[in-house]
Symmetry: C2
Amino acid sequence: MSENRNEGSSQAAKANSDTQTPSHFKVTHPRLRDQLKKKSSKKKGFKFVQEKMLKFQHVIRNQFLQQISQQMQCVPPGDQQCTQTSRKRKKMGYLLSQMVNFLWSNTVKKLKFKVPLPCLDSRCGIKVGHQTLSPWQTGQSRPSLGGFEAALASCTLSKRGAGIYESYHLSFQSYEAYQADKYHKDKNPSGYINLSTSENKLCLDLITARLTQSDMNLLDEAQLQYSDWKGQPFLREELASFLTHYCKAPTPLDPENVVVLNGCSSVFASLAMVLCDPGDALLIPTPCYNGFVFSSHLYSKIELIPVHLESQVPRSNLDSFQLTVDKLKLALTQAKKKAKKVKGLVLINPQNPLGDVYTQSSLQEYLVFAKTHKLHVIMDEIYMLSVFEPSVTFHSVLSIKDLPDPNMTHMIWGTSKDFGMSGIRFGVLYTHNKEVASAMKAFGYHHGVSGITQYKLCRLLQDKEWISKVYLPKNHSRLQKAYSYITKILKDLKIPFYNGGSGLFVWINLKAYLSPCTFDQEQILHQRFRDKKLLLSSGKSYMCIEPGWFRLVFAETHLHLQVAMDRFCHVLAEHKKHEK
Amino acid sequence: MSENRNEGSSQAAKANSDTQTPSHFKVTHPRLRDQLKKKSSKKKGFKFVQEKMLKFQHVIRNQFLQQISQQMQCVPPGDQQCTQTSRKRKKMGYLLSQMVNFLWSNTVKKLKFKVPLPCLDSRCGIKVGHQTLSPWQTGQSRPSLGGFEAALASCTLSKRGAGIYESYHLSFQSYEAYQADKYHKDKNPSGYINLSTSENKLCLDLITARLTQSDMNLLDEAQLQYSDWKGQPFLREELASFLTHYCKAPTPLDPENVVVLNGCSSVFASLAMVLCDPGDALLIPTPCYNGFVFSSHLYSKIELIPVHLESQVPRSNLDSFQLTVDKLKLALTQAKKKAKKVKGLVLINPQNPLGDVYTQSSLQEYLVFAKTHKLHVIMDEIYMLSVFEPSVTFHSVLSIKDLPDPNMTHMIWGTSKDFGMSGIRFGVLYTHNKEVASAMKAFGYHHGVSGITQYKLCRLLQDKEWISKVYLPKNHSRLQKAYSYITKILKDLKIPFYNGGSGLFVWINLKAYLSPCTFDQEQILHQRFRDKKLLLSSGKSYMCIEPGWFRLVFAETHLHLQVAMDRFCHVLAEHKKHEK
């Protein structure tokens, strides 16, 4: 890191020398002038300036962390003194942070420092540990607000509002940069390519063609009116049939156990509210998808307790990041020691970001563990139809004949990943527990799906012939092809990677490029990719316990993958140079 | 009420005599047997049984209220003792309440008591006062759970979940009964007619025809992918143009100030989170739409403080329920005395349930009041295009040239009412405050609208020619016709009513049918309508301070209105008989 900083500093010195060199030290010959300037800048202690700046920023950051952390908590209504103090701190904090930002951005611009920006995941980048944290508490480098104006206006927001504002903007900063500056071969060849957000862009042609067929456009009055808040009955019936078929349920699933909301995160947030009280906890094996943290944070106010998995055999696909019942037990015991109220276990299967699936026997073990400890099991199976490796068999929790505790087992699915329709905002809960299904209705009012969309989804999912014979085979072969393309490059670069034949991403090990192998260095490399307009997700944002891992989404068009991998290789090569 | 109870009791006695009459008291002649049974039952004190039952139920209800009220509050994570006690209470409460329900339902069934069921509004029936209450705290008669089975399963729900479950089911009970048993001329002539839920069913033909035109079916890839969480740029642009035009904005509105979420309640809930901290309060003139209470309750944890308006001249349309700045001042002063942190003022214009619009000068006064006291103004203008009386002019808050405090003024609109598209789940916020707009983005993740629906909405709202020349004139003339039909009947019945030429409902005064004029009696009459399969909304659910008012939605098909009004007249005639 120090080498890198020095390099940055010297570059900065060069760039900034005009403004920093005293007037009596003028040399006319360009090369000599440059050399002297370099030396002079070093002498005049740009490093000192930089260090001061970093220290100042650090102080302010800590002040900010403390205060935002307070803001994020649910302040009891009566606690006026605390509220007032906090409000004062907020205003002061905003202004200070703006000052820092202003100074910092100018310094960075002029000195060309290479400073990491906050790390972002584009589906949802808020990090979590065993505390509900605001994003930069988890290792991000600097708070970055939307301008001085915003800081002044911020007195119109509540503490909670300011916290939400900050969380969102820090988490989605890269995503918004991408949205505003997307790569296009001709129109914007230097725009962002996003291999961070998990979207399947390989079958948009197929889905678009199917969704524009004439059967999709029927519109009856029921679609336009208030309906069952659990979802339109016609869609719930179709979903019961669909899940029975594709999850291989031993007996037909019951439409009354189906709840439709606008996205899996809405389902998760609502389910967490129904199963947990504020402050309760759920176990979740990590690395894992981090979007649930945002949901937990915004609404459910629960805690996600990571069950940390490690890459025991870094250069092999075997045994790495394996979840075992022992690890679950350990995490539970430790949580209980800390007086945590653990209410359930969240499992993602196929796993994100690992892209592997649980074996039937493992799954059974986890479920038995959960039953033994009276834990709910929330199974996120959003990638269940994205198993592209033919030799891999996925086992849905709904396929299990004698579920250890059906009343405590809840499954989430949606079309965002398997059908590449993330913009449709649709998620479904299947629960054997009628009371849970019934309680979930209350959320239809705030997380409902348009009747028109529900109808289209119904028609799409009804067409099992097209799904099984046309869509899935094509989707899987395209995923396989993109996967092969990416992994060949990774192999050539001798970059270890992990994927178990499913999902839209590979989990790559860039430890060899980090020196020392720290989260700070991971962050710097992540920022270098971003500087090159390539978005990847860093392992830390998946609560990975080891630095050096990145998630790379490969479900992109070939052209985009080509450009992305060129940038990827370029960044690594450059990065290595800097490290030397 | 006592007469009514007695009548119920004697009926009950008759119905239940077979099971209650001792075996030594057998008479064979049918008429004599009936007469004797009647006397006997009275002697045997069925009234006593009934009273015992009511008392028992009352005790349990209070126990329940206490406990649910605790459940609904955000229990601090550390407060273990309280949580454990509360959990125990919950389980005990559930079982007891189930016992009561079981006994009660059997008693009611056998004794044919006429007991009011919980009062419901179908858009969202949770009542509110100056506290966040669970529904039956606000005057509803009995907790009604989903069966003994549910009670046993309820240990799987969190306290919060159980509270949500109860709130939802009590609030939406009538609505669900209606959904399951809708009136149909031929297929189900004895089904429910719903004049409680505010839906415009008069223009479904026009909307369906427009939404199925070929221009609606274009589907591009952007609709299927994650987008701007504030709403698709194309829709926000169109909304800025639409609102500029129909709200008569003095200068073009800015698409960046537009936030699209799935329904106005989602917008309100999110806005309340951004502007208020938990425990903060908003003033709201009442009677008013009660759906915001549910939102406040579920997510924002704010308090709605009613500014009570009264019908000073009950049989006239003049001066009744007028909002004045003095009333606002009084409410604010009283709230401040109670150390409430009032953050804003919610205004519904055109008003729901009054159906009138604020004059330009009144509106200006309210806004100046808000500015003086540093209050946000949340203007709900969801009925802005449903002004059917040509002589009435609506003034949107966006039309005001020199807004007293633009940075604190926020306007909500949607297509649910004006376009009869409540099933589309779409609401929009327009705010001049860029920071608020920006903070609201965070909610797009959980309250987003399907890209396909956003496209259709864009096309619909773009077609100003059709809206202005075809849709609105037809909609207004149909509303006017339905309004005339209903109000003629009301006039014939000498029932005072209130409407200021807008909205989908009349606010009717049935005080003459209540003896004594109490909320209990209002509740009984409300239940009588429901017994006759006619849903109306009772005034209490709109936080009306005077008993005897009901909201009746007239934006229904003529056939439904005819049948509904037949039932309405029948209930009132029967009710009068009972009262004599």
